[in-house]
């Protein structure tokens, strides 16, 4: 497999840079071999060159200075993912009920949560796990405190109870592809409506974001529908880099507000 935040290999948190570089090289080489599927000498050589180049770039970027690729692979982590999956399934149903019921029974709440671990990777995993679980959303992390927005009060209470916190530490049946393609297309249209309606810039960014995910799914489905699953690279490209534009927006507004410009000079734009 490629990798997930935790499942890189032997590097304990204190491992040396060299050990981390070796581990990174191993992961990259595996990823190359799995993606490529072509084992000609020329391509293997180019693969080795590419991995070496990326490791060199990572060293220059000092990505390996502290251990992002930190450790903790093991049964505990597997157990964590299993538990997270269960949570995601459960809360998906809750949000689904909320979305579909006519009265829209929501009670948005903001809760603050002290992470038990200050480790950066732990914090990131906790934050992302909370966001992955529908109905809860990490909106700010500062000094080991997480600000969590929950769709319902109950959701907030569950996060506060902190179980997640503790844990962190030739294709037949083409019709079904049509069904799912249709669902994705309709959702794209809905996201587009959201993008056009706004009302804030961020609603539009959200729509772009939703559109990106839908695009990844749609491209995967179409690749199979057209009988050319070797074109999944396209979906992979989007899965890897589509979030850069959201980061660019965050960067844009942070640098603007730092310059002391007026926050909402939008009125003048009328």
């Amino acid at each position: 497999m490629t990798t997930s935040p935790g499942d890189d290999t032997n590097g304990r948190t204190e491992g040396s840079v060299a050990a981390r570089a070796a581990a990174l090289a191993a992961v990259l080489a595996t990823a190359w071999l799995l993606w490529s599927g072509l084992y000609k000498p020329l391509l293997l050589g180019l693969g080795a060159f590419s991995c070496a180049l990326v490791v060199y770039a990572s060293l220059r970027m000092r990505l390996l200075d502290y251990s992002v690729f930190s450790a903790r692979f093991g049964w505990r982590l597997l157990g964590y993912w299993g538990w997270l999956g269960k949570e995601v399934a459960r809360s998906t149903m809750q949000v689904t009920r909320a979305v579909l019921s006519p009265s829209l029974p929501i009670s948005p709440t903001v809760a603050e949560l002290d992470a038990e671990s200050r480790n950066r990777v732990d914090l990131a995993m906790l934050g992302n796990s909370i966001t992955l679980t529908p109905g809860t959303l990490t909106i700010r992390i500062r000094d080991g405190r997480l600000m969590v927005h929950a769709l319902t009060k109950e959701g907030a209470e569950e996060v506060m109870e902190g179980e997640m916190n503790r844990r962190v530490a030739g294709f037949g049946g083409a019709e079904v592809y049509y069904v799912v393609t249709l669902a994705i297309l309709v959702t794209m249209a809905l996201a587009l409506i959201r993008a056009v309606l706004g009302p804030t810039v961020y609603d539009r960014v959200l729509a772009v974001n939703m559109f990106g995910t839908k695009t990844v799914l749609l491209l995967s489905v179409i690749a199979f529908l057209g009988g050319r699953p070797d074109f999944l690279d396209l979906a992979l490209a989007y899965a890897l880099i589509n979030f850069i534009s959201v980061l660019a927006v965050l960067d844009f507004y942070r640098n603007r507000s730092r310059r002391g410009l007026q926050r909402q000079d939008g009125e003048a734009a009328g």
């Binding site: 057209g226 009988g227 050319r228 070797d230 074109f231």
Partner: protein, 118 residues
């Protein structure tokens, strides 16, 4: 199907003109550049549409398949390079706009013309 068979070309026409409208109707220069991007995208769409063959697949020949129909690779080559050239030239345009803003204090056509007249 016969009427819908021209839909791609109609979308091309509409997109082209939406882009053109942004160029001629707006006074904001960045908006004009965005309009040019849309204009450009319309042309891309036209080329790629013309290369498509019904029931065809991408012109990347898999091993051991001989009777497949492939769409025309030539428009794809032209547009592939044009996309990268497009972003580079758009960036050049944006660079010019940044300098205009620094010199004139505005990126609005009217303001710039007024300053020039003085």
């Amino acid at each position: 199907m016969n009427v819908l068979g021209l839909y791609n070309y109609w979308v091309f026409a509409v997109l082209l003109m939406i882009g053109f409208y942004a160029v001629i109707a707006n006074t904001n220069l960045i908006k004009k550049l965005i309009g040019l991007s849309i204009f450009q995208a319309a042309v891309f769409l036209l080329y790629i549409t013309m290369g498509k063959i019904s029931g065809g697949t991408a012109p990347i020949l898999p091993k051991g398949v001989s009777d497949a129909v492939y769409s025309n690779p030539l428009p794809q080559v032209l547009i592939l390079t044009a996309i990268v050239v497009g972003i580079s030239t758009t960036a050049l345009g944006l660079g010019v706009l940044v300098r205009i803003k620094e010199e004139y204090g505005s990126i609005d056509e009217r303001d710039i013309q007024e300053i020039d007249r003085q």
